[in-house]
Amino acid sequence: MGREKTYQEEEFPTPLLQLWYNFKQTPVVMIGFGCYLFLIILAIFAPIITPYSSIENHLDHLLLPPSWHENGDVSFLLGTDNLGRDMLSRLMHGASLTFGLSFIVVLISLAIGVIIGSISALTKGVKSSFLNHFLDVILSIPSLLLAIVIVAILGPGLSNTLWAIVMVLIPQFIHITRNAVKEEFSKDYVLASRLDGASSIRILHYSIFPNIIEKLISQATLAQSAAILDIATLGFLGLGAQIPMSEWGAMLANGIEYFYIAPWTVYLPGLAILFAVVATNLVGEGMRHALKQRKES
C-alpha cells in the first residue's frame, strides 16, 4: 500500500476504491479475478483468436480425442465432436455466448432494477407495501422455474432465454436497491443535504448512489453466476440456444449420445461452465468479504 505522505493533505478514497483496496488483499480472490478478466477478454476476442470456425466440419476427423491422447491430433488441441467441429474453437465461442451474454444480461437487469428500486424507495404507503409483498412472492419462486415459464410463453431460442433471464433477475435488484436506498435515506448526511434544499433526485445521484454501488456490484456478481447456470441449463434442456450454436449447455446436451465413446464432449463444456461459475463466485465472495471488512473497520 505504502502511499507516501508528501503532503499534509488527507486523502479519502471513494467507497469503490476502498472496496478495491480491501478486495485485493486476498490472493485466492485475485486469482479468481484474473480468471474473470481472462473470460471477459476471451468473450470479446473469441471470434478473432479461435483456430477454426465454431461450425466448420472436419469430416475426416470425427470424434477425435484431445491431443494428449495417443489417437489425438495436435491441430485439434481439445479434440472434435460428432460432426468434426473443433472443441477448442467451440468452447472459446461458447465463452462469448454463455459468459459474455450472462454479463450483458446482468447489466441490463441491474439498470432496470436500480431505476425501479430507487423510485419505489421514494414512494410510501399502500403502493410500497404492495410492491414489498409482490417482490416476496416473486423472489420465492426459483429463477429457473420463472425463466422456463417465460420461455414457454415466448418460445424456445437464445434471445428469448436472455429476455427471460433479464426479467427473472430484475426483482432481486429492485429489492436490494430499495432496501439500500431506504437505509441511506435515514442517515444524517442525507438529512444535511436535504436541509440545504437538494431535491430527491439530486440526493440520489450525488449522495446515495456512490455509497450503495458496492452492494449493487456484489449482488450483480451473485446474479451473474446464477445467470450463467440458468443460460447453460436452459441450453441443456433444449429451450435456450439452438443446435449449431456453441453455447456450453447446448454443447453438453449434444455430447450426451456419445458420452461413453467420446467423454470429452461432455467433460469439457461442463468444466468450462464450472470454471466460469467458480471465477464469478470467487469475485463475488471477495467482494462481500471486502464489504464486511470495510463495515467493521
Binding site: 414489498n132 409483498h133 409482490f134 416476496d136 412472492v137 420465492s140 419462486i141 426459483p142 429463477s143 429457473l144 422455474l145 422456463i148 415459464v149 420461455v151 414457454a152 410463453i153 418460445g155 424456445p156 453466476s225 447456470l229 447453460a232 441449463t233 441443456f236 434442456l237 433444449g238 429451450l239 449447455g249 453438453l252 450426451i256 458420452f259 461413453y260 467423454p263 461432455v266 463444456p269 461442463g270 461452465i273 464450472l274 461459475v277 467458480v278 463466485n281 470467487l282 465472495e285
Partner: protein, 342 residues
Amino acid sequence: MLIFSLRRLNLFLFTIILLTLLSFSLSFLFPGNQLVNISGQVNATDEQLAIIGESYNQGGSLISQYFAYLSHILSGDMGLSMSSQTPIFNEILIHLPATIELTLVALIIAMAFGIPLGFIAAIKHRSKVDDTVLTISMLGYSIPVFWLGLLVILIFSIQLGWFPSSGQISLLFEIEHVTGLLLIDIMLSDDPFKWQAFQNALAHLVLPAVVVALAPATIFIRLARTAMMQVLESHYIKAASAKGLSFRQIIYRHAIRNAMVNVIRDVGLQFANLVTLAMVTEVIFSWPGIGRWLIESIYQRDFTAIQGGLLVLSSYIFIVHILTDFIYAGLNPIARGKKYGS
C-alpha cells in the same frame, strides 16, 4: 402466536391470489385462443366451445372471468392436457408425489450433511478444516447440476454398476397407488416381495437425491457456519465458559441449539432452489415427477399443462416455506413477536 399465524395466513392468501392471477394471465399470454389455452379442449367444436366459454364466464368482465377460473381450480378442474386430452388434475396427482418424495429426501440429506459440516467449520474457524469445507462448498454450488448428474450416472451406474440410472422402481414390481409416495405405498402393500421392492426403490432414489442435495447442502454449510460463528461470539457463551463449562458442554448444550434455529429460518428459501434443481435432475434420471412432466409439456407446447404445473409446483414450494416459518416460530419465541418485513 395468533397474530403471527394470521400474518402468515394473510401472506399465504395473497400469494395464492397472485399465483392464480399469474396462471390466469398466462392463458392470454400464450399464443392461440385463450379459451382453448385455459380449458385444453383442442378438438372441441364451436358449440362445445361456446358451452365451455359460458362456464368460464367469457362474456363477463376480466374480473368475473378470473373468479370463474378460480372456482374451476377450486373444484379441481384445471382443464385437459392439450397433448394427451387427460385431465391435468389427474396427471398432477400421479406426478407430484414422486417430486415430493425426491425433494424431501434430498432436503433431509442436504440438512443432515450440510449443517454438521458447517458447525464443524465454524468451531475450527480459520483452520485447514474450515478452508477445506469452504472450498468444497464453493465447488458444490458452482457445479452445474445436469453435468453432475451425468458424471454420477457415468461413474456409479455405468462404470461401477452400483445403482440404476433411471426411473423410480424396476418394472418387475407392481405397487398399488395409494398415497402416491412410493416408499410409503410399498410399506402399505401386502406384496410378498415387499422388502425387495423397497430396496429397489431406495437404490433408484439414492443417485438423484444426492445430486439434488449437493448444492443446497453446500448452502446449508455456509448458513450453519455463519450462524454458529455468531452464536460463539455472543455473551451467553462467554458467560457459560466463565461459569466453568467445558467447551464440549457449551457446544452441545447452548451453541448447537441456538445456531440450529437460525439455520431453520432459511430452509424455506433454499427449498425453492432445491425444487428447481430437482426439475432438471428429474429430466436426467427419467424420474416420473412433475418437473420432467412440466418440461416435456413445454416441448409439446401443452399450455394448459404448463399453467397447472406452475401453479401446483409454486404452491408446493410456498406451503413448505410457510411450514418452515411456523417451525421456526415454534422454536424461537423472539420471531413470533416480530413484525412482518422488519
